[in-house]
Amino acid sequence: MDLTTTYMGLKLKHPLVSAASPFTHTLDGFRRLEDVGIAAIVMHSLFEEQIVGEENELNFLTTQGTESFAEALSYFPRPDHFVLGPEEYLTLISDAKKAVKVPVIASLNGVTTGGWVEYARKIQQAGADALELNVYYLATDPFQPGEVVERNYVEVLKTVRSQVRIPVAVKLSPFFSNLANMARRLDEAGADGLVLFNRFYQPDLDLENLAVWPNVELSTSVEMRLPLRWIGILYGRMKCSLAATTGVHTVEDALKAVMAGADAAMLCSALYRYGTSHVATLLAGIEKWMEEHGYSSIAEMKGTLSQRAVAEPAAYERANYMKTIQSFRPMV
């Protein structure tokens, strides 16, 4: 059985990739993921805010109150060097590359074309096999036209692209007027992969304390419908790779992702809910299903249920809406 797949030019032993998550904060986390058979590891993100904010915070908190009072001209020792967030991250990349054999995909999270994009180059230097660019931008300004938002995505990608040779994927938000157009523009701007979708964590409200509560809920398989649809629509229309993320939990979810056209299916919540050993369970299930259904390779399956390949392409689009609504029967 040939489970291999190619994602952004990286040859993977199967399509199951761990999505950006706190697993990668330690080398042990990398090792654990490799031990359970993951095909590639996307690291947790290095945030633009982290790069800028950590420097500012360290500078402020180690200098507040200094040179003001004769007896206490400072409050902290003066180390020659601080290993700041970005540096820690870079060290982790190079250490991880030594610790595991599977591809390591770094993740850079930011929304501007500021100085932080230089870290793309440093990430490459540190040995990352690829870079996932997570443009986590939630447009909330009523006066900002969508075009500006879209252009910003393309600009950020171009700026990062200009810094590195390694493959660059863009992790996308689903909130565009025409996602297909956006995907095409990114594809043309040099994206090696599109990761669908960024799961915007939706804050909850704390009624007792009259406050917004930014808690994190794990995804469910149902949430995979959105990426599944768009991978199915985009498959075959892009030069770049496609990856499904959000809601990949079961064997069926992974198979659906591949058959819709994904080169990789990314796991995060599932690893938290079922443990990292879930990877092996999924792989066994995929193989079993392929065997039972007469598929001998992933390549053979890929895109077989994409919009282009299915008998009813309209089912991916508006025409299906009416059908879905009509099929709904409230429970009584």
């Binding site: 790069i51 360290l58 200098t63 200094t66 040179e67 206490a72 902290f76 180390p79 601080f82």
Partner: protein, 1190 residues
């Protein structure tokens, strides 16, 4: 040999040599020497090696006495050992110093000489400490300057190794220790050239070793001690020549020639001055100036003060000398004269008698005092001394530099006299502590020192307060070495980095004609003139000052620099002053930015670069109109209604004119009145809290956490506010506590005293239900509110205080209706300590005696000009004294001993006078129940009645009873201090006082570091935290001080954190005071040294309790008698990990940025230790005392 140019201060210059020629450093922080130990610790922590290739071991001890003991031990076992100290610290070392010298042990102690506390503490420089150890047998070697301190550190080491006499190398605290000067650094090879390794090995060979054992430190009897003590004489006799030899050897290597005594001046001088320390520099400068004008004067600089070599002194003494003034930077009350004076008199007369003097007639020798506590010592004062010597009968035992209108012994001088050359740049920079002015100026000096041929000097004057502080930087640059060790008083450049300072300080008074004035102002070049006070406009016109302005805040905001305008103002300085070509200067500034901020990340560097680049476009020269347009002058420092002493004395200190005050302005014994902070309206808050009466639930939580007593609550009746200003806000009082429904409530801010820390807002639990972003108090800009709230606060103060006996004091709400008698201190904005002290004064202030350990609480509690303790309307309030750092518990015990004795004596006298006073009255007075407020008030009434009865009685018994009658009213005795006191230096005394069983309360304001001296590690520092002297993270857990008190069984112990549980804090204070025995309260105090956003300090307190690192408990021995467990655990089992608290604070987080793996290891251990302790507490609190049969 290339010369290494360094631009550093005296402490670093000294430590850089000391560290390289030592194997062990035993240290303890004390201003102004702390930095030497910090440097040594940092260098060792970063692997810097000594000249033998090994990294010196640095050990922080629990006190200077401990450090000296450790030094003694290390020396006795053969290590090259040093220590750094000053003032009281040096005095604590005295017993060990006698031992070290008695055993002829080679060592060098480096001392930044500092005033010894007498009528007051002073952190500044004089020779009081050094003179106090002159009988120990240590050689005393004085340095005049930063270069000299660097060089003498080495010469002393070389000399001690050869002579075996231990050395104390000293230089003037602050003036030299903190002055930044350009100097030439000694390389390792220079050190190796001077240090004879054979002598090092000889030192080791004398060490104690079981492999060749000896006994040292025996006890001797009258038969032999004397002879044995005399045995060391040859070593002392040889010592001066050895020092001279080492000085010559040093000169052969470096070209810098020193002598035991050095003479400068006319070869045929008739009048000379003898002195030592940094004062030699301006005397040298003045001598050069006056001899060039033909005066026959000179100066002898004393380098080696002990052993005092007559031979070497006479060798430099001009034979033409007729009059000598010996100047001492110390005071020895009751002596014939100060020590150096007496030594010189003896030396000259002995030499004359022996025929070794260069003259045949005894010169006239007079002594004088100067420069105590870093008092200015200027050429004007020095000239006055030389002028005095011109007189036939010059005054002896004079003072110079002050106006003594009491003893009338001070010399008059002409303050306008100056010797400064025109080619020396002299600048003064007024900055706000928080804006980084000093740091930028230090960088400017380095730029000029390192990048030009100019010599450079920087000296920095700081504030007495810790919040909203003003700093004044004094900078000089010139073509010759700068000997002007006094403040810049004829400035060519004056920069004001905060326009508000123009209203407080007469800063252009020191400007020379044609000087440059640079102002940071929100107003542009066309408007700024009209914003200046009248006096400033007058000075600018009269002195033809060139005036520049910049809106540095605008540039800072545009470049993300916040309030840090340092880089911007530094760029302006270089652009205007022309000291360096502009492009060159900007390149140099950028280099220092990279050096200063590089390790903190590229973003910060770029931000600063951008600020530099944007500065010049915003810098403008202001066209000065030919006339004064301002109508307003500078406002008075204190309002006209202030008490006379406040207006006439303390106000001058506030204005920076304390030097002008004469001796008569001061009390004879250091006693000052209370209620002074309230008159110094500092207006430092950018924002202040504004109360929303509708939303407020009247919990008073904001009041209890306010570190500055600047938000207050009152309950009152409608009649009390009938004359209230229209803007005064009050509302109906909510709550059943007073049993009536006609009361009103107000929460009022003191707008001009608030620091804007926002702790109150952070504590407020009430949210606006319509707009939850608002609470019942919200911060708003101060300036538009200032006048309105000033009037409101003044009115608020007139509302009668609540009847204390009606208040439910054992609640947060109730306790906060009590009047605070600790207000508006100069503590850091958002201080975690002061709310506890304020609470103490609310609960017991009218009967409170405070023994205060040296530290933050003694500085914000008692540093002039204004102090925060205050009185109630009856004139009662906390009475306060600071004895030492180490003896606070004992000091408090002394208070208690007096009170108890006097009460006993009073009771005895009452019984004797029973017939006159009346049996029932005596009975009531002796056995009064004063456990509650009402009982205390009744007893006060009884005492008042007693006074009336005895008023006319002239009998000794009646008069004695009257003198101790107040002791019949319950008093509350508290020893207060930080963890440095309680866990370290004062622990022995604290332990003893706990063991004594007397009614003394001890309050530990626990910040986990020596906060006042800049964050050094104490035994309270939590594991895994970084602190000075714990560079690699504290490797062991915090000492469990509370458990040590609990172990006695009869000590009330509470561990509290107001931010986590304010009610538990209130209860603990009440229970501790009520407990008739020793009490210990350990109060978690968040601190600027934790590296936190101070407005979030209460959150830190919540987290530290939630993670279990600071369990809240009360251990009340009284409960055991009732069959109850004395231990009450007041916080819940840990529900978050220690790191969830710790990594919100820079002190922990920075270790993860320095040594991530070690940080993780220590944090894991800290978690284990925390849980282990928690389990122990839990078990203790779970014991069943009924079963135990207690």
């Amino acid at each position: 040999m290339t010369k290494q140019i360094l631009t550093i201060d005296g402490n670093e210059a000294t430590a850089s040599v000391a560290h390289r020629v030592s194997e062990v450093c035993a240290i303890y922080p004390i201003t102004p020497s702390s930095n030497m130990g910090e440097w040594a610790d940092e260098w060792s922590a970063t692997g810097k090696r000594n000249i033998w290739g090994t990294v010196p071991t640095v050990i922080e001890m629990q006190s200077e006495a401990g450090a000296a003991g450790a030094v003694h031990g290390a020396l006795q076992t053969g290590a090259l050992t040093t220590t750094f100290t000053a003032s009281q610290g040096l005095l604590l070392m005295i017993p060990s110093m006698f031992k070290i010298a008695g055993e002829l042990t080679s060592t060098v102690f480096h001392v930044s000489a500092r005033t010894v506390a007498t009528h007051a503490l002073s952190i500044f420089g004089d020779h009081g400490d050094v003179m106090a150890v002159r009988s120990t047998g240590f050689a005393l070697l004085a340095s005049d300057s930063v270069q000299h301190a660097h060089d003498n550190a080495l010469i002393a080491m070389a000399a001690t190794l050869k002579s075996r006499v231990p050395f104390l190398h000293f230089f003037d605290g602050f003036r030299t220790s903190h002055e930044v000067q350009k100097m030439f650094g000694l390389a390792d090879d220079d050190l190796r050239f001077m240090i004879d390794d054979d002598l090092v090995r000889a030192h080791r060979s004398r060490a104690l070793s079981p492999d060749h054992p000896v006994i040292r430190g025996t006890a001797q009897n009258p038969d032999v001690f004397f002879q044995a003590r005399e045995r060391c004489n040859p070593y002392y006799a040889a010592c001066p020549d050895i020092v001279a030899e080492m000085m010559d050897k040093f000169a052969s290597r470096t070209g810098r020639k020193y002598g035991l005594f050095e003479y400068v001046g006319a070869p045929d001088a008739e009048r000379i001055v003898v002195l030592m320390g940094s004062g030699c520099e301006p005397v040298h400068e003045t001598v050069d100036y006056l001899t060039a004008k033909g005066e026959k004067i000179g100066c002898i600089k004393v380098r080696l003060y002990r052993p005092f070599s007559l031979k070497h002194l006479m060798a430099v003494m001009p034979k033409t000398v007729k009059k000598i003034a010996v100047l001492d930077r110390t005071k020895e009350p009751g002596a014939i004269g100060e020590p150096l004076y007496q030594d010189v008199v003896t030396a000259v007369s002995e030499s004359l008698a022996a025929g070794t003097a260069p003259f045949g007639v005894m010169p006239r020798i007079v002594g004088g005092r100067y420069g105590l506590s870093s008092k200015e010592f200027t050429p004007a004062m020095i000239k006055a001394v030389y002028d005095e010597l011109k007189k036939d009968a010059p005054r002896n035992h004079f003072t110079v530099g002050i106006q003594d209108d009491v003893s009338r012994i001070s010399l008059d001088y002409d303050p306008k006299f100056t010797v400064e050359a025109d080619d020396v740049f002299r600048g003064k920079f007024y900055g706000l502590g928080a804006d980084g002015t000093v740091g930028a100026n230090k960088n400017s000096i380095k730029i000029i020192g390192d990048d030009t041929d100019f010599y450079a000097q920087g000296y920095f004057v700081y504030d007495s307060k810790k919040s909203g502080t003003v700093t004044v930087s004094h900078l000089r640059f010139g073509p010759r070495p700068i000997r002007s060790t006094y403040l810049v008083n004829s400035a060519k450049f004056i920069a004001c980095h905060q326009q508000v300072f123009l209203e407080k300080y007469d800063m252009l008074a020191d400007a020379v004609e044609g000087a440059v004035f640079l102002l940071n102002s929100l107003s542009g070049p066309d408007e700024v003139w009209d914003t200046l006070p009248r006096e400033v406009q007058e000075d600018i016109i009269r002195k033809k000052i060139k005036f520049y302005c910049i809106d540095a805040y605008k540039v800072a905001a545009e470049t993300g620099m916040g309030l840090r305008i340092n880089t911007i103002m530094q760029t302006c300085f270089f652009a205007i002053s022309g000291i360096l070509p502009r492009e060159e200067a900007i390149a140099a500034i950028k280099r220092t930015i990279e050096k200063t901020y590089g390790k903190k990340g590229e973003h910060v560097v770029k931000q600063n670069y951008e600020a530099v680049d944007k500065t010049l476009a915003n810098l403008h020269e202001v066209k000065v109109p030919g006339k004064v347009t301002a109508k307003e002058g500078r406002p008075p420092a204190v309002p006209a209604g202030a008490p006379e002493y406040m207006r006439n004395v303390l106000a001058k200190i506030i204005e920076g004119r304390g030097d002008e005050l004469p001796v008569s302005a001061f009390p004879v014994d250091g006693t000052f009145p209370l209620n002074t902070c309230r008159w110094e309206k500092r207006n430092i808050a950018l924002e202040i809290p504004v109360w929303d009466a509708e939303i407020c639930i009247q919990c008073n939580k904001c009041v209890i956490v306010c570190p500055h007593a600047s938000i207050r609550a009152k309950v009152f009746t409608a009649a009390d506010v009938k004359d209230a200003p229209a803007t005064f806000v009050y509302t109906k009082y909510r709550g059943p506590e007073f049993g009536r429904d006609d009361l009103l409530y107000s929460l009022q801010v003191a707008p001009e005293d608030c620091t804007g820390c926002a702790l109150c807002v952070s504590s407020c639990p009430a949210k606006n239900k319509k707009e939850p972003k608002f609470k019942a108090i919200n911060m708003a800009e101060q300036p538009p509110l200032r006048m309105r709230e000033r009037v409101n606060f003044a009115f608020f103060l007139t509302i009668p205080e609540v009847d204390r006996s009606t208040v439910k004091v054992n609640s947060v709400k109730g306790s906060q209706f009590l009047e605070p008698l600790f207000e508006f201190s100069g503590a850091c904005g958002g201080c975690g300590e002061t709310p506890y002290i304020k609470l103490l004064t609310q609960l017991f202030g009218d009967r409170l005696l405070i023994a205060n350990a040296t530290g933050c609480s003694s500085i914000y509690g008692g540093n002039l000009p204004t102090t925060p303790y205050s009185t109630n309307r009856e004139g009662r309030g906390p009475t306060w004294n600071n004895s030492l750092f180490e003896d606070t518990a004992e000091f408090a015990l002394g208070f208690r001993a007096t009170l108890d004795k006097q009460r006993e004596f009073a009771s005895e006298l009452l019984l004797k006078l029973k017939d006159k006073i009346g049996g029932d009255s005596v009975e009531a007075l002796v056995h009064a129940d004063m456990t509650a407020e009402g009982g205390i008030r009744e007893q006060r009434d009884r005492v008042a009645k007693l006074r009336k009865i005895l008023a006319g009685d002239r009998s000794a018994e009646a008069r004695n009873l009257l003198s101790v009658a107040d002791s019949l009213v319950r008093k509350s005795v508290w020893g207060i201090g930080g963890d440095g006191w309680a866990y370290d230096i004062g622990y022995g005394g604290l332990d003893h006082v706990m063991a004594m069983g007397r009614n003394v309360n001890l309050l530990v304001l626990d910040t986990g570091v020596y906060s006042n001296t800049g964050g050094q590690c104490s035994k309270a520092t939590p594991m895994a935290a970084v602190a000075k002297f714990a560079f690699g993270g504290k490797p062991v857990p915090r000492k469990d001080l509370g458990m040590m008190g609990i172990a006695y069984g009869n000590v009330y112990v509470a561990q509290v954190a107001m931010g986590a549980n304010d009610l538990q804090t209130v209860k603990a204070f009440l229970e501790a005071e009520a407990y008739d025995g020793p009490s210990l309260i350990i109060a978690y105090s968040h601190c600027i040294a934790h590296g936190i956003d101070m407005s979030r300090g209460l959150d830190s307190q919540k987290l530290v309790v939630e993670c279990g690192a600071w369990p809240l408990y009360r251990y009340d021995p009284g409960r055991a008698k009732q069959g109850l467990n004395p231990m009450q655990l007041d916080s819940k089992a840990p529900k978050i990990a220690v790191e969830d608290w710790a990594y919100t604070e820079t002190r922990f987080k920075m270790l993860t940025k320095m040594h991530p793996e070690e940080a993780a290891r220590l944090m894991a251990r800290a978690q284990e230790e925390t849980m282990a302790r928690w389990r122990l507490y839990e078990q203790l609190a779970g014991l069943d005392y009924r079963k135990a049969g207690n």
